[in-house]
Each structure stands twice: as structure tokens, then as C-alpha cells.
């Protein structure tokens, strides 16, 4: 059984909805800006979404107020996504549609604010009395309420692989028959925890990030909200794309450094290929994890050389959006689907000269090509890896 992708949308530093992605890629126009996040004086660049702060939640969701949920709400409004959810509810019923969200830091930005004005009693002030947001499932709670979906609801948080893994869980739930469809999503918003946390690991670049460039000097953090509806194929006759395979693995090596030979990453890619039944030679494009950290980019190219012919086009789109952490898997999957739709493979923005140490060629410039099948890679702290393969339904 193939899993159809009946609808999707993404909001990131590039703007609201899918049109913003296509425009930014066609114009090679980055969404990164010099850091201007409130209360954060770090010398770095960020992929901030404009107008998050101005987004008002509807009255019945007002008690779930947080930057992360504002970003989720802003994202849900785009590309008629909520109307598509309603239509699917009419088709199969709200009980038969699950919700699997992803995040790394959930609504912790709001918790940070509450701590900054802590009462002498050691408790957050009354306006922060919001138990449903000070926990990791805040995005799942918010999206279930906002859509009226009543199927099982959970939130995955495995660092930067989180919103790739939502596709794997959704695939299992649908194939096993637990539900007929799943709303999957990833929402992560900029907050002090990630900014100062990555800074403590000396991973932030003071420049716009340069994935795979020989002068790359670290990552830029970003924020995004991405959503997709995955269904049994027969429920989405108009769907153009399907999830063909997924792979999930663990490095079993180090908490914050990838396995030196990319063992876990390779296992995830091989598993995804095996599940899809597609040979590596028929993957036309790979959207890489490509964070612009020294270690990731070197190891990821080595891993590719173990698995794919060098004719495979491979690029990182983090020069456009920054690293959106728990939203990266789904944001980059959606960028991949848009490339398949429009026939334009994104290059690697800000990559002037690929590192001569790489064992695999990196696509620098946008290239016109009809992609048959594509893969998207996501690797996270704790050695947590995921790879997804997408293809065309009417192939």
C-alpha cells in the first residue's frame, strides 16, 4: 500500500505558504537575516518568520497562546489547508484521522517568558497558568483542537529528525488500519533555549550559513511550520505524490557528534530504499540534511558516496531557511515535493566552493529537471536519523 500525500503547506523564513518557497528558490533569495530576536544578543543569522507575533489565535484557542502555537496557526491558514482537513473529515470522520506532530522545544519560549517574571513564591505569574502549553505535546494539543480531529494525537521529539519521523509513524498507523489518514506536521519556533544552547556548543555561524562550502563555519537557526495530510491512496484520487519509503536508525556513537562514517545515516537511507523498492539509481534528487556544520556536511557526503551514483543531484536548502530543527524534516520534504511539482531542483544557496574533501558532488545552482523519485534526509542529536522517499502516484 502506498501512502498518498493529499495536501501540504509550509511557512518559514521564506514567507507564508507554498508560493513563497517557489519564489525564493527561483530568485535564489534567502530568508536569513542578521539576528534580531528579542532578548538575544548573539552574533549570528536567523531564519525568522515575519508576522508571527501579530498572529491572533481564535478565542477558543486563546488559552494556548505561545509563539510556537501562533506559528502553527499562521501555518495552518495557508494554501486552504484547513478546508482540506474539513473535507477529509467529511469523507472519513474526525475519529479516523490521527494527529502526529513534531517539535524540539514545543512552547518553551512561553515558559522562558514566565520564568523571566517569576513570582517570589517560585511560580510563574497567573497569565502563564497554561498547563497545556508548558509540555512537549503543546503542538499536538493545539493542532488537534484547531482542526477538530479526534483520532490518536501525539508529538514526536527526537531533535532534528522529529518531523521526518512523523511520516514513518503515520505510514504505520494507516497501513495497520489504526486510522484512515493522519495530519502530520512539524512546528519549531526561535527561542532563547535553542539560540543560547547551540551557541554553547559553538555551532552558530556569525555569517549567513554556507552548507557544503569549504569555508562553512556553522549553522543558522530558523523557525517553520509545515503540515501534510497523509491518507490511504484510494481516499485521495487527485494526489500527485506518495510516501514510498522511510528509514529510521540510531548512530549509537555520541550525543552531539555524528558517527564518523555516517553509519546510522547510511542505515536510514538503505532502509528507506528497501521499503520503497526503488533502486538508488532511480532517486533523482536528495534534499540533504546539510546544516553547514563542519562535521555533518563532511560525513553526509561520505555517506552518499557509499550508496548513490555521483549523477544523483544533491543539495541543502538550509541557506534559504536556516536549520528549523524539529520542523526541518517536513519543511524540507515539502520543498522536495514542490521541486517535483515545478521541475526545478534547488541548488545549495551560499555554497561558493564545495569542500575539496567531499566524496560526492554537491549541486550548487538551481537546475531544471523532471524528478521521478526524491529523498529527504534528517539527522539529529542523540544520533537519531531518518530518511524519506517520495515518488509520483501516476508513474
Amino acid at each position: 500500500m502506498r501512502i498518498a500525500i493529499s495536501s501540504y503547506t509550509a511557512t518559514s523564513a521564506l514567507g507564508l505558504g507554498l508560493k513563497s518557497i517557489q519564489e525564493a528558490i527561483n530568485n535564489s533569495c534567502s530568508g536569513l537575516r542578521s539576528n534580531d530576536l528579542k532578548n538575544c544578543d548573539l552574533d549570528t543569522w536567523i531564519g525568522r518568520v515575519q508576522s508571527v507575533e501579530a498572529t491572533a489565535l481564535p478565542p477558543h484557542l486563546d488559552h494556548l497562546q505561545s509563539r510556537n502555537n501562533q506559528l502553527a496557526w499562521l501555518g495552518l491558514q495557508q494554501n486552504g489547508f484547513l478546508a482540506n482537513v474539513d473535507q477529509l473529515i467529511d469523507q472519513v470522520g474526525a475519529n479516523r484521522i490521527g494527529v502526529v506532530m513534531a517539535t524540539t522545544t514545543s512552547s518553551i519560549g512561553r515558559t522562558e517568558e514566565g520564568y523571566a517574571c517569576m513570582e517570589p513564591s517560585g511560580q510563574m505569574p497567573k497569565e502563564y497558568d497554561q498547563p497545556e502549553i508548558h509540555n512537549l505535546h503543546s503542538p499536538g494539543i493545539f493542532v488537534s483542537r484547531a482542526t477538530g480531529l479526534k483520532g490518536p494525537s501525539m508529538t514526536i521529539s527526537t531533535a532534528c529528525s522529529s518531523s521526518a519521523k512523523v511520516f514513518a509513524t503515520a505510514s504505520r498507523w494507516i497501513k495497520y488500519g489504526l486510522v484512515d489518514a493522519v495530519l502530520v506536521g512539524g512546528v519549531d519556533s526561535l527561542c532563547l533555549s535553542v539560540m543560547y544552547g547551540f551557541n554553547s556548543l559553538e555551532l552558530l555561524s556569525p555569517n549567513p550559513c554556507r552548507p557544503f562550502d569549504r569555508r562553512r563555519d556553522g549553522i543558522n537557526l530558523g523557525e517553520a511550520a509545515g503540515f501534510a495530510l497523509l491518507t490511504k491512496e484510494e481516499l485521495a484520487p487527485a494526489a500527485e505524490f506518495a510516501l514510498l519509503g522511510y528509514g529510521e536508525s540510531s548512530d549509537a556513537y555520541h550525543m552531539s557528534h555524528p558517527h564518523p562514517e555516517g553509519k546510522g545515516a547510511l542505515m536510514a537511507m538503505e532502509q528507506a530504499l528497501k521499503r520503497s523498492g526503488i533502486p538508488a539509481t532511480e532517486i533523482d534528487y536528495i534534499n540533504l540534511h546539510g546544516t553547514a556544520s563542519k562535521a555533518n556536511d563532511l560525513i553526509e557526503t561520505y555517506t552518499l558516496s557509499q550508496c548513490f551514483p555521483t549523477s544523483t543531484l544533491a543539495s541543502s536548502t538550509k541557506g534559504w531557511t536556516g536549520h528549523t530543527l524539529g520542523a526541518a524534516g517536513i519543511l524540507e520534504s515539502i520543498i522536495t515535493l514542490e521541486s517535483m511539482l515545478h521541475g526545478i531542483v534547488p541548488g545549495t544557496l551560499n555554497c561558493g566552493e564545495p569542500d575539496p574533501e567531499f566524496r560526492f558532488p554537491i549541486l550548487k545552482k538551481n537546475t531544471k529537471m523532471l524528478i521521478r523519485n526524491a529523498m529527504s534526509n534528517s539527522f539529529g542529536f542523540g544520533g537519531n536519523n531518518a530518511a524519506l522517499i517520495f515518488g509520483r502516484i501516476n508513474d
Partner: protein, 269 residues
């Protein structure tokens, strides 16, 4: 109804440090507040850096694998906790509340929800899929469902962990847990092992149910711990070891305010 087996169990709370102490406690009704924790599986380098949340999870996971005589490298993992490591969240939010906002890099990388599975995979040389999830107060039954579907759909053993740590004051209204509790359950497709501990049948329905009562002599601060919501299930398996309970035992757990997991625990077949 969907069927699967429980092949191994591991538990830890301040009142019991393993399955035997838990089962003995259920049999005698006597509990002592002095459980020890010696997670020897974690290599020394990692052990120094690992927070209590990680040590607890690794301990119960290795107990469950040991009981089933399963090489830990062969099981996928679903770790679950509503809140993750609340001591680290508390530390980060306090440190970030005023300049210079300098956070410890080790505590930052330990703050990821999957820190438990990261250390576990290093300690047990496990390259399998590992997951870390939350469903707030419904975390434990939702994680059971996720682990069960993964075991059945992929035909593999899946190690489920349900855990919640003690909450710091500022997060206590969100998660009213006063003591840590951790439980690991090795779930397998029916017949994966010749003699599992128990067999389970379950179904999901769209109705509203209350949490089942935790047995009276087992109310060791567990009622308020989101990680301990499946205790009635493991108590039924433990009870059965002492033949106090006649199986099957039927239990209902809420998965949300409007859906439930109906579950029947029976003798191994």
C-alpha cells in the same frame, strides 16, 4: 481486537528498583523507600554526563531486555514522557531569564527529549529506530499504542518506556509528579518468543473513559505521575505471578478526552 505479547518488564521508583521488588511488594503490601539505582550498562564516559532521567530509562530498559533474554540491539524503542527532563528545563529557563544567559553545553545536549534513547543506543550498541514522544497526560497509553502498532506493522520487538520525573515547583501545576517513576515493557508480535509473560488484546474506540484505579496498596505517589498511568496493567501481570488475580483482566485507559484504549491481559498462550 489486536493481539500482541509482553515479553519483558522493567520498573523503578523510590519504592522498588526492579520487577522482583515490585512483584514482592504487590504480594506482601510492604514497600520500603530505599530503591537503589546502578545503571552499569552506560559506559563510564557517558555515565558522568548522563542525568538521572537517562539513568532511570536505561536501567528499566535493560531490565526488560534481560527478562526476555533479548539482545538490546535488536529492539526498536519508543521512549515516552509528558515533560522530558524537567530539571534541565527548569535549569535552562532559570539561566536564560537574565543575562549573560550562559548555558552548559552538556546540559543543553541532554535537554533533547531523545537524550534517553541516545544514551541507550550508545550503551546497548542499538542501531534500531528509536523514538521519543509525548501526549501530555495521555502519554503512557498513547505511547503503548504507538509501540504496539510499530511492533505489529514492522514485525519486530519494540521496547516501550513510560517515565515521568519529579517536577520542580514552577512546573508542578503542569505536571504534578513528586517522585520519579519509570517502566519499560518489551512488546512483541504474538509468538515472537515461545513463553512471553502475558498476552494482550486491545482495541481503540471513540468514547470517554476515566483512568482505571491504581490498586490501593500500590498508591505510592503514583496516581499523580503521568508515566505511571499503565501501572494497573503491569500490576495485573505481577499479580498473576502470585496467582492473586484471575486473568484475563480487562482495563480501559483514555487516549484523549474522547477516545479510549480497551485492553485485556491474559495468560501467555
Amino acid at each position: 481486537m489486536i493481539k500482541l505479547d509482553i515479553a519483558g518488564l522493567g520498573v523503578w521508583s523510590p519504592y522498588f528498583s526492579n520487577w522482583k521488588e515490585f512483584s514482592d511488594g504487590i504480594n506482601t503490601g510492604c514497600w520500603q523507600l530505599n530503591a537503589k539505582l546502578q545503571p552499569n550498562l552506560i559506559p563510564p564516559r557517558e555515565r558522568r554526563r548522563a542525568p538521572l532521567s537517562v539513568k532511570l530509562a536505561v536501567e528499566v530498559m535493560s531490565q526488560a531486555c534481560e527478562m526476555a533474554c533479548l539482545d538490546p540491539a535488536n529492539a526498536a524503542v519508543v521512549f515516552s514522557s509528558a515533560m522530558g527532563d524537567m530539571q534541565i528545563t527548569d535549569y535552562l529557563c532559570r539561566t536564560l531569564s537574565t543575562p549573560p544567559r550562559l548555558v552548559s553545553p552538556t546540559r543543553f545536549h541532554n535537554s533533547v527529549h531523545n537524550a534517553t534513547t541516545g544514551y541507550w543506543s550508545i550503551a546497548s550498541h542499538c542501531h534500531a529506530a528509536t523514538n521519543a514522544i509525548s501526549a501530555y497526560e495521555y502519554t503512557a497509553p498513547v505511547a503503548f499504542l504507538e509501540a504496539a502498532i510499530q511492533a505489529l506493522e514492522e514485525d519486530i520487538p519494540v521496547l516501550l518506556v513510560t517515565q515521568e520525573m519529579a517536577a520542580p515547583l514552577a512546573l508542578h501545576d503542569t505536571c504534578p509528579s513528586d517522585q520519579p517513576f519509570s517502566c519499560a515493557m518489551l512488546l512483541t508480535p504474538t509468538g515472537y518468543f515461545a513463553s512471553p509473560l502475558a498476552s494482550i488484546q486491545f482495541s481503540v474506540s471513540g468514547d470517554s473513559v476515566n483512568w482505571p484505579d491504581i490498586p490501593e496498596d500500590l498508591r505510592l505517589n503514583l496516581e499523580s505521575n503521568f508515566g505511571a498511568r499503565l501501572v494497573p496493567l503491569i500490576a495485573a501481570v505481577a499479580d498473576h505471578g502470585f496467582t492473586r488475580t484471575i486473568l484475563p483482566v480487562n482495563l480501559k485507559f483514555p487516549l484523549s478526552s474522547n477516545s479510549s484504549l480497551k485492553l485485556s491481559v491474559s495468560n501467555r498462550k
